[in-house]
């Protein structure tokens, strides 16, 4: 118990560092680019436009309001993909610092996931533009969006911690994860309707792909103007906490050995 209290005190002491690291990431991301932060909105928008063009002329799915369907899925998936990818390198990338000063190591992973969250908040601007152009009516359930992002955020922290510590011991993880992410993208209904799939695959995705739960909640709020299915919310939070607990546990168990491998 005492150890846990001590950890909490340390976490509070390094709160400013977390803030500084997130600020650094965001400042540096667009430094020296002419449009700067506008890219956070413009980038997802451009990709979405291309995907809409591809999927409305080359492949056709029977989806109402396809641009909105697409950008909601894309926002969540990009968040998870970016956050975990950044987190993966958070320990190995800060080796120089970790070798020379004492800093709680998880701060780096946490800061990467948090800067991804901030970027996602910017990219909600892109979603907003699509909503306006497609004349989606705003509804009170949209206030639930932060809760959806919170589930995704917690999930990413857990997964990020797991990946970060694994990468320290085995650098292969980065390549394996890159392939895994591609598979994950196709197994997440981002640009196709889940109903297109065979029953078995659909069942698998609904039960084992947490991104389905997060994206569907967002779509239910935005596209259907309804409160998300409580079962999905419950499932989303359970998976998020599970990921967080497992990630934290494995990370803390192995962190003292990092120094020998970085």
């Amino acid at each position: 118990m005492n150890k846990r209290m001590a950890r909490l005190v340390t976490f509070r002491r390094y709160q400013p560092l977390l803030k500084q690291l997130v600020e650094k990431d965001i400042k540096l991301k667009y430094r020296r680019s002419f449009l700067g932060y506008v890219w956070s909105i413009l980038n997802p928008l451009l990709i979405m436009i291309i995907m809409v063009l591809v999927f409305s002329s080359m492949f056709r799915f029977d989806i109402e309001n396809f641009p909105v369907y697409l950008i909601t899925g894309q926002t969540i998936f990009n968040f998870v993909s970016d956050a975990t990818n950044q987190a993966l390198f958070s320990i190995t990338g800060n080796a120089a610092l970790l070798k020379k000063t004492y800093v709680p190591k998880y701060i780096f992973t946490l800061s990467k996931v948090t800067s991804s969250l901030v970027n996602t908040l910017f990219s909600l601007g892109a979603m907003l533009i699509v909503l306006l152009v497609c004349r989606v009516r705003f509804n009170v359930f949209m206030l639930f969006i932060p809760v959806i992002l919170l589930q995704t955020y917690l999930f990413c922290i857990g997964l990020g911690l797991l990946l970060a510590q694994a990468t320290v011991f085995f650098r292969d993880v980065q390549y394996i994860y890159a392939a895994f992410l591609t598979a994950w993208m196709y197994l997440t209904p981002i640009f196709y309707p889940i109903g297109q799939l065979s029953f078995r695959l659909m069942w698998m995705i609904k039960h084992f792909n947490p991104l389905y739960a997060y994206i569907t909640q967002l779509r239910q709020v935005v596209l259907e103007g309804a409160f998300p299915d409580p079962r999905l919310i419950f499932y989303g939070f359970v998976v998020a906490f599970l990921s967080l607990v497992i990630g934290t546990w494995v990370f803390l168990r192995n962190q003292d050995r990092f120094i020998l491998y970085i």
Partner: protein, 247 residues
């Protein structure tokens, strides 16, 4: 009684696994696992070292390259964990193991001051209050908006030292960091260290310059291949060390 001590290192050993080559990919790991070659050569960077430093004392740590001096300092800072034994610290530590370890080359000096401050655990408000003093001490007024990657190592070291010593720490840990600065700045750093020492800061000092150890420190620890060879009065330990070197 125990409160008199700032640093107590009790029978501490630090182990590194130096596998003949470092295995950090899966293929190699499995190949070696299958061939039963997965053995680690154990290498003890520190062997059963004892060090008890009273509050306010200045200890020099001497020894040839690779004798474990930096490992001992890292152990005391909490960067490394002991494999055996214990380390207990009483008070706040300012580690000067490498100046500006937390600097990010793409950020400007000004932004780096805040980042480095946060690495040491200070919040933004506090750093804002100390900002001018840091810049004044480092004498880098004209270079605050320059990215650190364009700094020379001496300039970066100035900034690092200014930040690390802005607060009076209970324990100051110095690992040959002053070697990069120019003469005037070295003098300035030594004055600041003396000032801190005057206020009761405990000092752990690693240097290859025996003269400066004798001058600054009252006590010394001689490390030889990871083991403590001799500890005690600085003059005596330094003389014994020099004698051993000449043989």
């Amino acid at each position: 009684m125990e409160n008199d001590y700032a640093v107590v290192v009790d029978h501490a050993s630090v182990r590194f696994n130096i596998a003949s080559e470092r295995i950090d990919n899966l293929k190699e790991y499995f190949v070696k696992l299958v061939k039963r070659e997965l053995m680690f050569k154990e290498f003890l960077a520190l062997k059963d070292v004892n060090l008890r430093v009273r509050k306010g004392e200045a200890w020099g740590i001497i020894g040839v390259n690779g004798s474990g001096k930096s490992t001992l300092l890292k152990l005391i800072c909490g960067i490394l964990k002991p494999y055996k034994g214990t380390v207990s610290i009483n008070g706040s530590i300012a580690p000067l193991i490498e100046l500006g370890a937390g600097f990010d080359g793409d950020l400007t000096a000004k932004e780096n001051i805040f980042l480095n401050g946060a690495v040491l655990g200070y919040d933004k408000k506090f750093m804002e209050r100390q900002f001018q003093e840091i810049v004044d001490f480092a004498e880098l007024w004209d270079f605050m908006d320059m990215p650190i990657k364009n700094y020379s190592s001496g300039m970066a070291a100035r900034l690092g030292f200014s930040i690390a010593t802005i607060v009076k720490p209970d324990i100051l840990i110095c690992d040959e960091v002053l070697a990069v600065g120019d003469y005037a700045f070295q003098q300035k750093c030594e004055r600041r260290m003396a000032e801190l020492r005057g206020n009761g800061t405990t000092l752990l000092y690693v240097s290859h310059s025996i003269e400066s150890v004798k001058e600054i420190c009252g006590h010394a620890l001689w490390l030889d291949k990871g083991a403590a060879r001799m500890a005690g009065d600085a003059e005596a330990v330094c003389d014994a060390y020099m004698e051993a070197l000449q043989d």
